[in-house]
């Protein structure tokens, strides 16, 4: 063991400060045995290149996982679900590795076969953080591979619900969109080129007749894949809407494409003109660009998770004195199960043996662990934080208290469809279509009286020129760019429909624990004198090795101190720590642990030296930074509420930061939160819910926009509309402003596109539209709109974020 000033030394493997002493090996410092072990393993297999590619690439190994943890992977039923392909000798599996973060990770994982000879090939997709592993059935097994991956720090996230598989499939579906886009782009470019002689044919008469028709027929040929393949999705959605007697936004587009195509085919075959195939393929191309841009989502972030993603796949079960594993979905009432430290109870159970200290923060938001005695009920979702306990299942997971929330009707509706239905784009496009058809009709009536020969050309020209593609382009491009800009600043939206809903919200509901507060800090109670320097360093040395949040808060309170040699260190989980330093007996922990006689109600951390209490602390929730300024910047537009699962101990603190008229509710169960939001919506408020835990899942689902705050965006968060990086919490007002600005951009660009339409329609009602004008008008209007919306979006992002970052 080295001395305290060594804390600045970084572990060769993981880069963490060596707080708990240094393990030296091969002249390199390591923070713990686990890190050393990984280094040793890599070195023995000639894999030290791992450390050359990036500095301290490893992951801290402080918590070794238990051997039985992956025993369930030997179950053939589980294997069958995981294996993608298998024959007699070779199998293929895919895992999601949330810890992958740098090039060293990738290098090590792709060289897995040096650590396990049974692995034939391992290939990592860094963007998605998935690895595909091909292995020999005879040499190794899924369990061995998973244990190896966890040992070197990349524990795979294994879930049997097929959310991940479904998402993987979605991304392959997107490929067909790229194909359509590529083909439309190719045809559009070539049709434009072939059309050039036609545009200029008025002035240059030398062009010969057979060339004209050659170019026209090539154009026709090139337009076929655009019409039949690239544009197919417009026809399909328009037709689907039509079947449900509903004119969706794709209907006028499909109509415009159809009319342009048929008129062009007619003109070319009858040798009366060149048609408008260039405009048609241009429209299709730009529309597809917009859609691909808008639907490009974050591949590695998941928005659709329910409680099953959080639960273990299997548990240890005791049957006739023997321990085996059983899948959680097969648990029945009466089964005896073992719950190890840090595991989540997968069903409502009765405690049979052992002391349960249960952290329900996951379910209720209450952060203080609860002690549950033998023969008392433990609800599913509670996390055991002390040693292994024995439980008897009362209700299987589907009927448990926790999951009853998911049977609430709000989980049955599809928010994505709902958002699309109430979006303003369809409303606008409805007006647009009506006006357009009215103009087309009036044109027909006019030419009927003036010159009936002009009816067909002028009416079709109106429909061609005025297709609502400009409107759709403005929204798809703006949404696509905005989603990218927001994600650059830490807010990840599920899809574009969330953007519009976010800009409409006018009431924000916050969760407390984990959202407004994170962790605790300690306040010394005035009854006690300050510690002297020697005492400080003794206490610091004892508290340092503990992972308990209170012990960490204590270290922060004391600041950096000299570390003394510690002996007899023991931690009684859920109670406290004791140890001997400099022949003094130090106790840190709860009142009962210290055996305190004094009665100070606020105190919840006591410290005794040689049996005498020297100091006591009150733990106070640590507020996130920028909270007061956050409220002052948001209060012009929003009303606020607080829904906390905790008791009222932080009420005064919260009243201090919330504006006076805010509603503060404590002791809220998940269903209460959901109902509260429903109540707000009944008063026609548009609710933005910001939460973090599973206990907010109902509220997040019910609200108009549910944002999950996450310390690490690759962690698993409850089903929601958007994920906000916790570090960017203070930027929330700017993010909302930017989302609202996107509506302004859409309005401006839409207005301009209407101007283009008026010019275009003005020409076409007179029957004067020739391919030349159409060919100029279409790309200039489209490209200028794209440039404008892109420019405005970037300007907006700079404008809103500059004010706070400088």
């Amino acid at each position: 063991m080295h001395k305290a000033d060594d804390t600045a030394i970084e572990c060769h493997h993981c880069g963490a400060h060596c707080q708990f002493g240094i393990v030296t090996f091969d002249n390199y410092p390591f923070c713990c045995e686990g890190c050393k072990l990984v280094y040793e393993l890599l070195k023995n297999n000639d894999l030290c290149n791992y450390y050359a590619l990036a500095q301290h690439p490893g992951l801290q190994q402080i918590k070794p996982s238990t051997k039985e943890k992956f025993a369930y992977l030997d179950d053939p039923q589980v294997q069958q679900k995981l294996i993608q392909f298998t024959d007699q000798t070779i199998s293929l599996v895919e895992f999601y590795l949330p810890n992958v973060h740098c090039s060293s990770c990738m290098w090590l994982i792709e060289h897995l076969n040096r650590l396990d000879k049974g692995v034939l090939e391992s290939r990592l997709n860094f963007g998605k953080k998935t690895v595909q592993i091909k292995f020999l059935n005879a040499e190794t097994s899924i369990r061995k591979i998973v244990s190896l991956l966890s040992m070197i720090g990349y524990e795979p996230y294994i879930s049997l619900d097929d959310v991940i598989h479904k998402e993987a499939k979605n991304s392959s579906l997107d490929k067909s969109k790229i194909f359509k886009l590529g083909i439309a782009g190719f045809c559009f470019g070539n049709i434009m080129m072939m059309s050039f002689p036609e545009y200029l044919s008025d002035s240059i008469s030398t062009i010969e007749q057979h060339y004209t028709s050659l170019f026209r027929y090539i154009n026709l040929l090139l337009s076929l894949p655009v019409f039949f393949y690239s544009a197919s999705e417009f026809f399909i959605t328009a037709w689907k809407g039509f079947q449900q007697r509903f004119l969706n936004i794709d209907a006028p587009i499909a109509l415009a494409i159809l009319i342009t195509f048929s008129r062009s085919v007619y003109e070319i075959i009858s040798h009366t003109g060149a048609g408008y195939l260039d405009s048609m393929s241009g429209i299709v191309f730009f529309m597809l660009v917009g859609r691909v841009l808008q639907e490009r989502t974050q591949a590695s972030i998941s928005f659709h998770r329910n409680y099953t993603s959080y639960f273990p796949i299997s548990v240890s079960i005791i049957k006739e004195e023997e321990v085996s594993t059983k899948q959680v979905s097969e648990l029945r009432a009466g089964d005896r199960i073992l719950l190890h430290s840090d595991e989540i109870a997968p069903a409502d159970c009765i405690v049979k043996k052992g002391t349960a200290f249960i952290d329900y923060s996951f379910v209720s938001g209450e952060s203080t662990p609860i002690r549950i005695k033998e023969n008392e009920l433990l609800y599913a979702g509670g996390k055991q934080i002390s040693d292994t306990i024995e439980l008897e299942v009362v209700k299987p997971i589907e009927q448990s208290y926790l999951t009853s929330l998911w049977n609430h009707f709000s989980f049955t509706k599809n928010k994505e469809e709902e958002n699309k239905r109430i979006s303003f784009i369809p409303v606008l496009s409805n007006y647009f279509s009506s006006i357009l058809f009215a103009i087309a009709f009036l044109t027909a009536v006019y030419w009927y009286f003036v010159n009936p020969n002009f009816i067909l050309p002028s009416v079709s020209a109106v429909l061609i020129v005025a297709c609502p593609c400009a409107l759709l382009l403005t929204s798809t491009f703006t949404n696509g760019i905005m989603m990218k800009l927001l994600s650059d600043h830490g807010l990840y939206l599920r899809d574009a429909s969330v953007l519009e809903q976010l800009s409409k919200t006018n009431h924000i509901v916050f969760d407390k624990t984990g959202t407004l507060t994170h962790g605790h800090y300690l306040k010394k109670l005035s009854e006690y004198a300050s510690l002297n320097d020697a005492q400080k360093s003794w206490i610091y040395s004892v508290a340092l090795p503990s992972q308990h949040p209170m012990a960490k808060a204590l270290c922060t309170y004391l600041g950096k101190q000299e570390v003394c040699p510690v002996s007899n260190w023991t931690e009684v989980i859920g109670a406290g720590i004791m140890a001997t330093v400099a022949e003094k007996n130090i106790q840190i922990g709860s009142k009962g642990f210290i055996n305190a006689k004094q009665d100070v109600t606020e105190a919840n951390l006591w410290i005794a030296i040689d049996g005498e209490i020297v100091i006591a602390f009150e733990s106070i929730s640590q507020l996130r930074n920028d909270l007061p300024s956050l409220f002052s910047r948001l209060k012009n537009r929003f009303q606020f509420s607080l829904l906390s699962g905790d008791n009222e101990k932080d009420k005064a603190l919260m009243q201090g930061i919330f504006p006076k008229e805010a509603i503060l509710q404590f002791g809220q169960k998940p269903l209460d939160k959901l109902n509260f939001i429903e109540g707000l919506q009944a008063q026609s408020k548009r609710v933005l819910m910001i939460g973090d835990g599973l206990n907010d899942a109902g509220a997040l689902q019910q609200s108009n926009v549910g944002i999950t705050l996450s310390e690490n965006i690759n962690n698993f968060s409850p089903s929601c509309d958007a994920i906000l990086d916790a570090k960017q919490f203070g930027q929330l007002p700017n993010l909302i402003k930017l989302a609202r600005f996107s509506n302004t951009i859409i309005a401006i660009t839409f207005f301009i596109s209407i101007l283009y339409n008026i010019i275009g329609i003005g020409i076409s009602v007179q029957g004067k539209l020739n391919p030349m004008i159409a060919a100029i008008l279409m790309p200039t209007s489209t490209i200028s709109i794209i440039l404008l919306t892109t420019g405005l979006s970037y300007w907006g992002a700079q404008h809103f974020f500059k004010a706070t970052t400088t």
Binding site: E110, L124, N125, I178, N190, L214
Partner: protein
């Protein structure tokens, strides 16, 4: 002037070649993982 016929056909053929290459590159998952692929290219095999 008949050279124009050949040139037009040739240019279309060349362009089609690029289209096919584009489609192949997508099918071959070349756009799946930009960062990973760029790093993989720099790893030295011992």
């Amino acid at each position: 002037m008949s050279a124009l016929f050949i040139l037009v056909i040739a240019s279309l053929l060349v362009a089609t070649g690029f289209l096919v290459a584009f489609i192949w590159s997508i099918k071959n998952n070349q756009y799946e993982d930009f960062k990973g692929s760029s790093w993989r290219a720099l790893f030295e095999e011992k």
